[in-house]
Symmetry: C2
Subunit: 259 residues, 2 copies
C-alpha cells in the first residue's frame, strides 16, 4: 500500500513526520564504440573497442575520483527527464536511446546521506561524442575502455552499476536491435558482426552472412539498402570488393524459449 504506517491518529499524511531520502540521483552509463583504423597496406576493418564515459569529481565525496555522469532529480521532472537533462548538460548529447535499468539503494552507498540512485544506460555513436568533446575540451570528461574503467577505483558504487550496465547491454545486444545505435544508417554485415563482437566478446557465428540474409526467421530485422532507382547500394569502405549495405527494419522479433 502506497502509504506510511503508524499514523492512525490523523487523516492526512505528512512527510515531515518521517525520515525521507536526501536525494534521488540518476546515474548514466554512456557506452560508445571507438574505431581506430589499422595501419595496414590495404583497406581493412577498423579496430573497435567498447568505451564508457566517466567524469572526474571536483568535490567531496570522492573528490578526484572518476564517476559516472549524473545528477540529482528536481521535483518538477521525472527521473527519466532528469537523466536526459544531465546527459545533455554534461556531454551535450541529446535525443538518444536512453534506458532505465536498475535502482541502487543499499544503505550507506552515499556518504552524503540516504540516496536512492537510478541508473540508465545510453548507447551513442562515437561521432556524436568526439564532436562534442572537441567543442568544449572538457578535460574532466573522458572515455575509458570498458575493461579499464572496471579496474578504476570509481566513486560510490559506480563500479557495481557499471558491471550491471555491461551485463544488461550485452543481453540487449543479442536480443534486440540496439546494435543500430552504434552503427550508421547503412552498414555492411561485417560491421554489424564487429559491433556485436565488441560488446559481447564470446559471440561467434560462423556463416553469419548466411543466417542474417537467408534465414527465414531472422531476415526480417535487416533489409538491403537501395538507392532511388532501386539498385542495391554497395560499399567498399573496408575492402576492395564491394559489399552489400544493409539497414535495420522496424521489426523487433519476439523471442521465446518455447519457440
Amino acid at each position: 500500500m502506497d502509504a506510511a504506517t503508524g499514523d492512525e491518529n490523523t487523516s492526512r499524511y505528512s512527510a515531515a513526520r518521517y525520515r525521507t531520502p536526501d536525494g534521488a540521483p540518476a546515474d548514466i552509463v554512456i557506452f560508445t564504440i571507438a574505431s581506430s583504423t589499422r595501419n595496414s597496406a590495404k583497406k581493412s576493418l577498423p579496430l573497435r573497442e567498447l568505451q564508457v564515459m566517466l567524469v572526474e569529481r571536483k568535490k567531496w565525496p570522492y573528490e578526484g575520483s572518476w564517476a559516472l555522469p549524473g545528477g540529482f532529480c528536481n521535483e518538477n521532472e521525472s527521473i527519466y527527464e532528469c537523466a536526459m537533462r544531465e546527459l545533455e548538460e554534461e556531454t551535450g548529447v541529446g535525443g538518444i536511446h536512453l534506458e532505465y535499468f536498475n535502482v541502487y539503494s543499499e544503505p550507506g552507498r552515499d556518504p552524503r546521506g540516504w540516496m536512492i540512485s537510478h541508473a540508465f544506460f545510453a548507447l551513442v555513436n562515437e561521432t556524436r561524442l568526439t564532436n562534442r568533446r572537441a567543442a568544449d575540451d572538457a578535460s574532466d570528461v573522458r572515455l575509458f575502455p570498458a575493461a579499464e574503467a572496471l579496474e578504476l577505483p570509481l566513486a560510490f558504487d559506480h563500479r557495481l552499476i557499471l558491471e550491471d550496465a555491461l551485463e544488461r547491454v550485452r543481453e540487449k545486444m543479442l536480443t534486440t536491435t540496439i546494435a543500430r545505435q552504434f552503427l550508421p544508417e547503412e552498414f555492411t554485415i561485417s560491421e554489424l558482426y564487429q559491433v556485436i563482437e565488441t560488446v559481447v566478446p564470446e559471440f561467434e557465428e560462423k556463416n553469419f552472412i548466411r543466417k542474417i540474409t537467408s534465414t527465414q526467421s531472422r531476415k526480417g530485422i535487416l533489409e538491403e539498402a537501395r538507392d532511388g532507382s532501386g539498385e542495391r547500394k554497395m560499399s567498399n569502405r573496408y575492402s576492395q570488393r564491394f559489399a552489400q549495405l544493409y539497414r535495420f527494419t522496424d521489426f523487433q522479433p519476439k523471442l521465446s524459449i518455447y519457440s
Copy 2:
C-alpha cells in the same frame, strides 16, 4: 555526476539545502494463477485465470480505492528489502521470486508529495496465497482477475504500474522459465502449456509436446521426472491416460536474434 549543482561556496554537500523527495515507496504486483475444476463428468484440466492481489486503502489519499500492496522504504534497508518486508507484512508470503522492473516518478503522481515509487512483481503459486488468506481473513485484501483489475479505478498510477508489470511478466514468461513459479515441482506438459497460455493469451504452439521434448535447442530446459528406481513418473491427475511428469532443469537458455 552524483552531486548536486550550485554549491560552489562550500566543500560539503548538505541535503538541507535542496528540495528532497518526500518518500521512496515500493509497490508490488503479486500475480497468481487461480485454478478451478471444471464440473465435467470426466477428469479434465482445470480452468486457469491470471489474478492480481490488491488491497483496499483505509486512508487519504484514495481512501476506499483498491491499490497495489506496498509501503515506504526505511533508511536502513534497500528498496528490495523494503519490498520483501512489505510483501511479507501484507500477504504473509516470503521467499519468493521478486523482481524489480521500473520506477515511477512523474511529478504529481502522489498527492502526498514528491514520491518516487519502485515497482516489483512477484509470481506466487496460488496455494501459498489461499492458505495465507484463510489464516487472517483480511477482507481488505483480495485477488482480482487481471483483466478486471485493469478496469478498476486504482489508486495513484497503479493502473499504469499494473499494465507495465503485465507486459513484463508476459515477456518473461516466454523468455525465461518463470512458469515454474506457477507450477508444482513436477507437472505435465499440458499444465505448462496452460500456464503459458493463461499469462500470454496469444501464445499458441501446435505440436508443443514435440518441440518441448524432442527439439535439440529447447529440450535442455525440461527433464523427465523419475522416481528412486529410475522409473519415469507419470500422473493421471487430469486425464484417464497417464501423462509423463516433467521438471525444470537449472538451465536458462540464452536467446539471440542473431541465433
